[in-house]
Amino acid sequence: MAEMTYRQALHDTLRAEMLRDEAVFLMGEEIGVFEGSYKITAGLLAEFGPRRVRDAPISEEGFVGAAVGAAMLGLRPVVEIMTLNFSLLAIDQIVNHAAKIHAMFGGQASVPLVVRTPGGGGQQLAATHSQNIEVYYAHMPGLKVVAPATPADAKGLLAAAVRDDDPVMVVENLALYNTRGEVPDGDYVAELGRAKVVKEGTDITVVSYSRGALVALEVAGRLEAEGISAEVVDLRSLRPLDRPTICASVRKTTRAVVLEDDWLSYGVGAEVAATIQEGAFGYLDAPVRRVAAAEVPLPYSKPLESAALPSAAALLKVAHETLDATGFPR
């Protein structure tokens, strides 16, 4: 184990995968000479050269689609899209091509493509640069979508994505790049498609992912101080969704709250809540509540932006309300 930032974990994993497999190459805007908008690829052009660290012009549909074709011929492109927002410019290639090619051609071709891209609001980047639209991709059969919350998962899930023969969206988070945590040494590959109980508890389940998982842990700590035992489930994988892990937790705690940075309607929380009501209805002592972003385009001004984004305070309040609704003593 070594402690490092989420950013460092991503960087080191990219480098390790490139050293491990000649078919792995990186492509994206400003990832080479500029070393990446968020410096994930710092130093890699100098080490691997322009053949394997390819700066692409501003043309998301073009270079993401080119990565799809290169992957069809057996290469393993890892594409960086500067932020999740810009993935919309490439959505035809991601949704209509990367996600479809394996099934649509009867399993004769695969697309071992990784798209890395950070989501996340809270940086005062305003409406077009603050969106959490991971559900657009989580909705799509044929894609795998992961959203690591910790440096360890950043490593393990990215490594798994690179080695997987399907297109995988690795949704990073601007707010997490500088967070620190313990990362397993050596060749560490996590399993795609699995959620993780990151804190055990008995009274209430908080389900979240990415930045939200860290907020959930913080709130669980505060509840603990009040004598309330909260369990935290980090989804890690948005597609496939690990429904059994979610339901098993709620069967134990009988209460659930979802914390999500995306907008509430049709969001991750909606899917989780539906999963719980179907899979653990008889165990529920209270309605499943969701804490999500206010349904407006994200504003620039700090007080407005803060009001729109889900916070630890909002989660704490909803957790209390959920407990109170069932007469939980506190």
Binding site: D92, Q108, R194
Partner: protein, 378 residues
């Protein structure tokens, strides 16, 4: 637009904006080479081209018939009228090259060597089809033929085709034995963003690819000059300093020659280019389109240019094959298509139990495999 151009020279070329360069670049002889004549090509090869053209013609007519009999679902776009373009392009392509096509691709699959039975079975939605019943008419695929797919989204194939060329360049250098990519598209496709982004990437990175625009004069019902501000489509690469050439798509030998020159530049010089084949649709956009937007006289004029009887007559007249041989080739094509229909009819449909077989290439825990109404895993 497409039609007025046919009167002009068989190949027009445009250089990279550098006049001294000309054509597809120095050394490829594209401008200098005299047009390929019948006498330059062995008789058996010529008869082979006619056989393929006739096979495509017969196949497409039967496909149309099967569609009206509801044996074929979805959309069904035919290569009727484009047979010389189809066969000329495929004749230029090597087995080691990669082909990305549009949704109007039955003929390309056949001329590339796909068994007609498997193509027809795909149209029928059968398990023995080219894409195992998952793709249908618009999405034929055959890895062994490096037929990398028909694509239903207009121009969706262009970025992946460009990426396939990137993969070739990633793995090996230029040279006469280099693999190359041919990316087909229709005239309407040259107006989408992905076309322009891809051309820029290919020119910037010098990728071994030929972008073939099959210009049949109409994007569905819209004439080229009402959709494209530069209706001479082979010139649309000029912003990327990408050479282009236009060829008479009704002349199978001219198409082959022009495609070979473009592929040669891609292989040897990593020079991507555009090849515009001026062709036409004998019928509507798809089987269900009666093409009422086309004036009657125009439709008649186009029929008079029909490349299949024209090439047949040309070969008979030149003594390459006699009438008896021609009649035999015609009969064999009809027979091959009848066999294909029988094969498709007799083949089983995919079993619904196989619905999730191709959900993912790498198995993953919790992959959704529930049918409508099934309980969710909990």
């Amino acid at each position: 637009m497409a039609n007025s151009s046919r009167a002009s020279a068989r190949v027009e070329a445009q250089g990279r904006g550098d006049k001294s360069q000309g054509g597809l670049g120095a050394g490829d002889g594209r401008r200098a080479a005299p047009p390929l004549a019948l006498a330059d090509v062995p008789a058996e090869v010529l008869v082979g081209y006619y056989r393929q053209m006739k096979l495509v013609r017969a196949f497409e007519l039967r496909a149309s018939e099967m569609y009206t009999k509801a044996k074929i679902g979805g959309y069904c776009h035919l290569n009727l009228g484009e047979e010389a373009t189809v066969v000329g392009l495929m004749a230029a392509l090597r087995p080691t090259d990669y082909l990305f096509t549009t949704y109007r691709e039955h003929g390309y699959a056949l001329a590339r060597g796909a068994p007609p039975g498997r193509v027809m079975a795909e149209l029928f939605g059968k398990a023995t089809g080219s894409s195992r019943g998952w793709g249908g008419s618009m999405h034929l695929f055959d890895a062994s033929l490096r037929l990398m797919g028909g694509y239903g989204i207009v121009g969706g194939q262009i970025p992946p085709a460009t990426g396939a060329a990137l993969a070739i360049a990633y793995r090996s250098g230029p040279g006469p034995d280099s693999e190359a990519v041919m990316c087909l598209m229709g005239d309407g496709t040259t107006n989408i963003g992905a076309f322009h982004e891809s051309l820029n990437l290919a020119a910037l990175w010098r990728l071994p690819i030929v972008y073939v625009i099959v210009n049949n004069g109409l994007g569905m019902g819209t004439p080229v000059d009402q959709a494209s501000a530069e209706p001479e489509l082979y010139k649309r690469g000029c912003a990327y300093r990408m050479p282009g050439a236009r060829v008479d798509g009704c002349d199978v030998l001219a198409v082959r020659q022009a495609a070979e020159a473009a592929l040669s530049a891609a292989r040897n010089d990593r020079q991507p280019s555009i090849l515009e084949a001026v062709s036409y649709r004998l019928r509507g956009h798809s089987v269900v389109d009666p093409a009422r937007y086309r004036p009657k006289e125009e439709a008649e004029r186009l029929r008079s240019l029909d490349p299949v009887p024209a090439f047949r007559a040309r070969l008979v007249q030149a003594g390459v094959m006699d009438e008896a041989r021609a009649a035999q080739v015609d009969a064999e094509a009809d027979e091959a298509v009848a066999d294909a229909v029988r094969f498709a009819e007799d083949s089983p449909f995919p079993d619904p139990s196989q619905l999730f077989d191709h959900a993912y290439a790498t198995a993953v825990p919790n992959a959704p495999s529930y049918l409508p109404g099934d309980p969710l895993p909990a």
